[in-house]
């Protein structure tokens, strides 16, 4: 909790951008109903069976990936804090108190999950409210909200762990390895952007599979943190 609070006080920009992206994603999801409405009253250029993408069906699922991206952005201050604490000797002090790399990673990971969960919670509420307003079916609202929760938390865990690892491994105090970790975190959800257009019928299953794979990777990284990253890499 303290680390989450410290992260918030360290940088508010990422939080604002995260909230903006999250709400924008929910709006994009709701646009599908607008497209559907236009499709029934005008030329069905985007309608299924015309040879184009079924944009109306794909957008809610694409918005899932965007909402996950917003969650990663929202949790980024934890990473900034991690780098800051490493350079400032706080991690060294934690080590001197008898903590190991895994204990330290767990604290920052918990903070990242805590922050991202609060945004995911907000996104779920926004999905429900916006869905009801534009007349989405209950099932679709449940699918989108469920997928956001299922995908966001493993992806945030993975990108946080990978960013901490990269930042621990970089030699320069002001190096830019941890943004690479963020890019990998974002890259790993790429299938969630593409699949709704290519194989819409499998999109939900693929998203869930992706969530399971990323969760397994995160767990593996977390459990092997003490072996992968030596203690000296946490020193200033």
């Amino acid at each position: 909790m303290v680390i989450a609070k410290r992260s918030v006080s360290l940088s508010k920009t990422f939080l604002i951008v995260g909230i903006f992206l999250g709400l924008l994603s929910v709006l994009i999801s709701s646009l599908s109903d607008l497209i559907k409405y236009i499709g029934t009253t005008a030329t069905p250029a985007n309608a299924a069976g015309t040879g184009g993408f079924d944009l109306a069906a794909a957008l809610p699922l694409v918005s899932v990936a965007l909402q996950v991206f917003a969650a990663i952005t929202f949790a980024t201050p934890v990473l900034l804090l991690y780098v800051y604490d490493k350079n400032n000797g706080v991690l060294e002090y934690f080590l001197s108190l008898g903590m190991n790399q895994g204990d330290i990673y767990r604290q920052y990971l918990k903070a990242a999950l805590m922050l991202s969960s609060s945004l995911v919670g907000l996104e779920v509420v926004a999905n429900v409210v916006a869905g009801l307003m534009v007349g989405k079916t209950g099932l679709l609202i449940l699918e989108v909200s469920g997928l956001v929760v299922a995908l966001a938390l493993p992806v945030v865990s993975f990108s946080t762990l990978i960013m901490m690892s990269f930042s621990s491994l970089q030699k320069q105090r002001v190096g830019a390895n941890q943004p690479l970790g963020m890019a990998i975190g974002i890259f790993i959800v790429m299938p969630a952007y593409i699949v709704p257009f290519v194989v819409p019928s499998l999109a939900i299953a693929i998203d869930l599979l992706l969530a399971a794979v990323v969760a397994a990777l995160s767990l593996l990284m977390y459990l092997s943190a003490s072996r992968l990253i030596s203690r000296e890499k946490l020193l200033p």
Binding site: G89, Y93, L95, S96, L97, G98
Partner: protein, 298 residues
């Protein structure tokens, strides 16, 4: 009574040893001053004892417990790095409270101990380097431990605060082991009873400071009269009459002679620091220390 023992310890960074096969046994509660030129391995020594670095070989025993294997033993150690390790976005009170929640102790007590009341509502980032150092030291005293590892605790501190810290350490050293590194050799002599001299990652000297003898024992005497005709003294540095002796006992005899002649002696002090000689002698012998990879860390 506690015992800190290093047995053939080699340790370093990235597989490159900085400490080479170090052994010593500190078995009395006292302040052990750790001296050595930059890059000699002092910080690596502290980090290895604190359990931050795992030794490549050998073992660090505290009261017989291997520190690398015992989390409980490591909880009996307090380590002060020369990085302040403070959450700078917090106020002093909250920063100390943050550590108190992690390791126990009472933030209010250490605020009072180090007279930080006037700073407690200020953000750490707004403090001067010396004030940050005081707060950093305060966190070390949150809980009483049996072994204190203090890496340059009085750097950036003004003389009055340095003295406060030394007084606290002197009180602690009655029943604790304190390892204390400093580049101030006069402070080191004042505060320490034992010396650990680190040179090129090896122990250059381990023993009592009182056992270190100067080649020459120079004493400065301040008097109200000219004493150059009574003893072999020359008016020299700082307005002192400077006298050279071969043994400290001779200084006592000279003082006795002056007093018998009715001279009012207002001050008498040793001008040279035996630690200075020892340090310089070892510094000259260790050119490798200047180029060692651990330079930034020491």
């Amino acid at each position: 009574m506690h015992t800190l023992e290093l047995v053939n310890v080699s340790s370093g960074y990235g597989g490159t040893p900085v400490l080479h096969d170090i052994s010593f046994k500190a078995q009395e509660s006292a302040i052990y001053v750790v001296l050595g030129p930059n890059g000699a391995g002092k910080t690596t020594l502290f980090r290895t004892i604190a359990g931050i670095l795992n030794p490549y070989s050998g073992k660090v025993l505290f009261d017989g417990e291997n520190l690398a294997q015992s989390k409980d033993a490591r909880k009996r150690i307090n380590y002060l790095s020369h990085y302040n390790a403070l959450p700078e976005e917090m106020t002093v009170r909250n920063a100390l409270g943050f550590y108190a929640r992690i390791e126990g102790g009472d933030a209010r007590e250490v605020i009072s101990l180090l007279n930080l009341e006037d700073l407690e509502d200020k953000k750490v980032s707004d403090l001067s380097q010396g004030q940050k150092k005081r707060v950093s030291i305060a966190k070390v005293f949150l809980r009483e431990r049996d072994l204190y590892l203090l890496d340059e605790p009085t750097s950036n501190l003004d003389p009055a605060v340095s003295k406060e810290i030394r007084d606290i350490l002197l009180r602690l050293s009655k029943d604790k082991i304190v390892l204390y590194s400093s580049h101030n050799l006069y402070e080191a002599r004042d505060v320490g009873t034992n010396l650990i001299l680190v040179r090129d990652g090896e122990i250059g000297y381990f023993g009592e400071i009182s056992d270190i003898k100067s080649k020459e024992y120079r004493v400065g005497i301040r008097t109200t009269t000219d004493i150059s005709k009574m003893i072999d003294a020359k008016l020299g540095e700082g307005g002192y009459y400077v006298v050279s002796f071969t043994e400290p006992e001779e200084a006592g005899l000279a003082l006795k002679k002056l007093v018998e002649n009715g001279v009012l002696v207002t001050e008498m002090r040793q001008l040279d620091n035996p630690l200075q000689e020892l340090f310089e002698a070892n510094h000259k012998q260790s050119p490798a220390a200047k180029t060692e990879g651990g330079e930034k860390r020491n």
